[in-house]
Symmetry: C2
Subunit: 181 residues, 2 copies
DNA sequence: CGCAATTCGTTGATTACTCAACAAATCAAT
DNA sequence: ATTGATTTGTTGAGTAATCAACGAATTGCG
């Protein structure tokens, strides 16, 4: 992998951060490219150097978070649910502004559905209906059940200002998850 | 004044911030140009684009703060001491990392003497020994007295983690100042 | 509707930054 | 004192970002 120019990284980070901030302040529709450029302290043209428009920018941001989560889902296959859930919760907390605006604000429903879809695929890998407590169960039902539960809990946690620390959340959620899958 | 390129501002800000941070962590002598570049997330060569070496960089930083203070000393001539001192204290607080490392750390004595010299000049403008309570006083004595007192109090305030808010400090110090000059 | 004002997306010329490489200077340690 | 390793300051080629300017598209308001 050829390492990318420092300037590219910095510009993109500033631009992405700017959009998230602005989305936490006003509606996505009301945000102009100039707004983003001002907030990122970047020339307006620079945004077009990396993104087609603000929709493309938002897509890339969402895609990146999904990818990040996907990556440490892989590297966490040998951990138990609680430990790997701690990592997830801390990731949510570390990107609080993104996830809270994305899940809490109305209108950003697209990300929620992406997020849910991603979790459905992840849980599919873990469910085994050939033996154990889930013999005679239905895979789709379990997966939908558990993914929706998980996303809903995360949503609630973020909407309510993260009332419990990541580890506490992970222990509770991890315990519940282990009862199902 | 032709407005400067955004990139210049950003690079210089990052570099200056990097040095201040590093100085609060280790001795100035132990800081390399590469350290600064790494912290500022800037290529090493970029530093030489703006500064001769780390000494020049530190000089420019100190000079800039002195200039800033000088500027809002001018614009505050019609305010009373308390109001203008509020501005000063808030400036100190806003640049806490700089002033605390510069005044608190041993070895950075050069800035203290510059800071004192600057204040001596400023107070000279305010002292009037031709009439009022300071008739029959000595200008040098008053100025030295008041400037050293002021610098010492600021030093103490910063060294002790700003135990009182800027306005409270300003009221106390402003009151004392008005008794003298 | 019609007009004014933004915003958009693109262009080209210029500039600052990046990166790798270099020799010289400085440092550390035996 | 001699070696080996960092650090320094500089170079040149390449690249990304800046800025001003443009017509076209959208928006907002009387």
């Amino acid at each position: 992998m050829p390492k990318v120019d420092r300037r590219i990284t910095k510009s993109q980070e500033a631009i992405k951060k700017a959009l998230i901030e602005l989305m936490s302040e006003k509606s996505f529709d009301d945000i102009t490219i100039q707004d983003i450029a001002d907030r990122a302290n970047v020339n307006r043209g620079t945004i077009y150097l990396h993104y087609l428009d603000k929709f493309d920018l938002l897509d890339k941001i969402m895609e990146e978070h999904i990818n990040n989560m996907s990556n440490f889902c892989e590297s966490a296959t040998e951990m138990d649910y609680i430990e790997s859930t701690v990592h997830c919760m801390e990731y949510f907390k570390g990107n609080y502004l993104f996830f809270s605006t994305m899940l809490a604000s109305e209108g950003a429903q697209y990300f929620r559905s992406q997020f849910l879809k991603f979790n459905i695929e992840e849980f599919k890998k873990d469910v085994d209906i050939t033996k154990g407590k889930n013999a005679d169960q239905n895979e789709d039902v379990i997966v939908q059940f558990v993914a929706n539960a998980y996303v809903g809990v995360v949503e609630w946690w973020l909407k309510n200002g993260m009332p419990y620390p990541p580890r506490a959340m992970a222990e509770k959620v991890g315990d519940l998850l282990e009862r199902i899958v």
